[in-house]
């Protein structure tokens, strides 16, 4: 079997123990979305405040395993202050790292086909691919953020 150390890297455990951006934002002006992993019962709640195409603030809540919590924390740190366009690039790069086929409904990155996105800390989640049942734990927060941002844009 793959080493558990590949899954539980120190940086992941650090985000799990000391989550960044955990909390709530007032709605409105923020938008709230909930995501569920029906397999294991994990729940993630994303609050996002989008103004003029920029993710001004993001918080997350809910309950989940170390992978889903660390992924939420890392994601929030990565996208805070970024544009919605950059978020799409991150999302695309992250899904590709998770070996997930591009979703035809996903908006394609607008600055070319293979944007050179630096995932930073998020790279640590690469080991999750070796544990296929855990991929959904890592991607749940991304799905939920995408949903929240779409709702925020639709409402504005």
């Amino acid at each position: 079997m793959p080493d558990l150390e590949d899954l539980y890297r120190e940086i992941i455990l650090d985000h799990y123990r000391n989550p960044r951006n955990r909390g709530e934002l007032e709605t409105p002006p923020a938008t709230r979305a909930e995501g569920f992993n029906p397999l294991c019962g994990d729940e993630v709640i994303i609050y996002v405040q989008v103004a003029e195409g920029v993710i001004e603030d993001i918080k997350f809540g809910g309950q989940g395993c170390s992978i889903s919590q660390a992924s939420s924390s890392m994601m929030s740190a990565a996208v805070k202050g970024r544009t919605v366009e950059e978020l799409q690039q991150f999302n695309h790069a992250f899904r590709s790292m998770m070996s997930i086929e591009p979703d035809p409904d996903d908006p394609a990155p607008t600055n070319g086909n293979s944007p050179d996105v630096k995932l930073g800390d998020l790279e640590a989640l690469k080991g999750v691919v070796k544990f296929p049942v855990r991929i959904k734990c890592a991607t749940l927060s991304w799905h939920t953020l995408t949903q929240a941002v779409e709702e925020a844009i639709a409402d504005s």
Binding site: L4, L39, C40, G41, D42, G64, S66, R134
Partner: protein, 410 residues
């Protein structure tokens, strides 16, 4: 004579396999049990010697296949104390059996505001079909609460049953292990004019089942948790109810006559078994009940009580306040299902670490999300035991649990 899990393990070919180079420690029998050699052989034998479609063939093979299917029905009827073989309806699983009751008896007999009573510890299989009838017919769903010790809180039972049409309860909780007082509940339901349904999915594999003693009107269970194959479940119901219930699915096998204008139904039980039935699976289930009868269900239960007691003592002594095991503390009041929380580590992570030691447990909501909410957690780790488990499996679980500290406890 007490069961000898060491000998029993030899009957289960999968127990020979290694996982990650280690002996398999299978503690997920509440999800599905393993299959003993006689069950696997019966299925193979069916395909090698009898395979053909049932009920309408006049040739020898079809006669034998039909006889094999009906023989399996007889065995199951005998195993659960049914007074007639025709009271055994083969379904896909317990979920389908419960849905069958909701879709046929429920639709024919329930209307807006009619109360159906269930409990907070039900599996989704005994919740969602009733939610669906709430949406479709406007029935009222009522919930018997649970106490903090994992038993049902029956304080308000009379009020909850007032005007009720059906009480539907799991005989054993798949999360807490709680054995519910089915006879008492059935008597109370009948006194209130309601029918009684029992979800026996976690009961029939582990305790001697007698549907008459239960006092039930409907009993549902599944084959794959009791050494049988997947794809076969059972609904037992009283003959007079089955006679009156409309059919479930329409198609071949379930008809007496079909014209351009309509159809008439076959006799019970075939009225409820549209299409080619799961013949090989029924034969496998027949072999499974033979196997369990050979062990003796009293002995199966004695073994479970002893091993559950050992597991509760071992885990509590070793981990004290670091472990919370949900459900009744007395082995005699519960099945061998141990849902636990360990040091606040998420169950998904606990199960992942245990897998490294080839210890198989389930992590999640166990298809009982309303119960999880009552327990105040989103998920638990669950170890569940069966006839092939012994103290060494419990020890392996206890040892492997400590490995989680390496990653998650600073």
């Amino acid at each position: 004579m007490a069961l000898d899990p060491g000998t029993i393990r030899d009957d289960f070919p999968i127990m020979c396999r290694q996982v990650h180079g280690r002996r398999l420690v299978y503690l997920d029998s509440a999800a599905t049990s393993h299959k003993p050699r006689p069950v696997i052989d019966a299925i193979t034998d069916y395909y090698e010697r009898f395979n053909s479609n049932v009920h309408r063939g006049s040739y020898q093979l079809a006669v034998e296949a039909t006889e094999a299917l009906e023989e399996a029905r007889r065995k199951v009827a005998n195993f659960i104390g049914a007074s007639r073989d025709s009271e055994i309806i083969f379904a896909k699983n317990a979920t389908e059996a419960i849905n069958l009751v909701a879709r046929t008896w429920g639709r024919a007999n329930l209307g807006p505001g009619d109360p159906v009573v269930i409990t907070e510890l039900e599996h989704h299989a005994n919740i969602v079909p009733w939610h669906m009838l709430t949406a479709e017919l406007g029935i009222e769903l009522r919930w018997i609460p649970i106490r903090s010790d994992g038993h049902l809180d029956l304080t308000d039972l009379d009020r909850l049953l007032d005007g009720a049409r059906l009480l539907s309860v799991a005989a054993v909780s798949n999360v807490l292990g709680t054995i519910n007082p089915i006879r008492q509940l059935a008597d109370a339901a009948h006194e209130a004019g309601a029918l009684m349904m029992v979800d026996a999915s976690q009961y029939t594999p582990h305790l001697p089942t007698d549907v008459t003693e239960m006092g039930a009107d409907f009993v549902a269970f599944t084959g794959h948790k009791m050494c049988g194959p997947t794809g076969i479940g059972v609904l037992w119901a009283k003959s007079e109810l089955l006679e009156e219930m409309p059919p479930f699915l329409g198609g071949g096998e379930m008809i007496l006559n079909v014209t351009k204008e309509g159809f008439s139904t076959a006799a019970v039980p075939w009225k409820f078994e549209a299409g080619t039935p799961p013949i090989a699976e029924a034969v496998g289930l027949g072999a499974a009940v033979d196997y369990l009868s050979g062990l003796g269900m009293e002995q199966v239960r004695e073994h479970e009580v002893a091993l559950t007691g050992y597991a509760l003592r071992t885990l509590n002594q070793r981990y004290g306040d670091d472990i919370t095991i949900h459900g009744p503390t007395e082995p005699a009041e519960r099945g061998g299902v141990l849902s636990f929380e360990y040091k606040g580590i998420h169950p998904h992570d606990v199960a992942q670490v245990l897998d490294r030691s080839a210890v198989c447990v389930r992590a999640g909501h166990h298809c009982a999300k309303p119960l999880m909410r009552v327990l105040g957690c989103a998920a638990t780790s669950r170890a569940s035991m069966y006839v092939y488990n012994d103290e060494s499996d419990v020890d392996a679980l206890a040892d492997a649990l400590a490995d989680a500290d390496v990653f998650f406890i600073e």
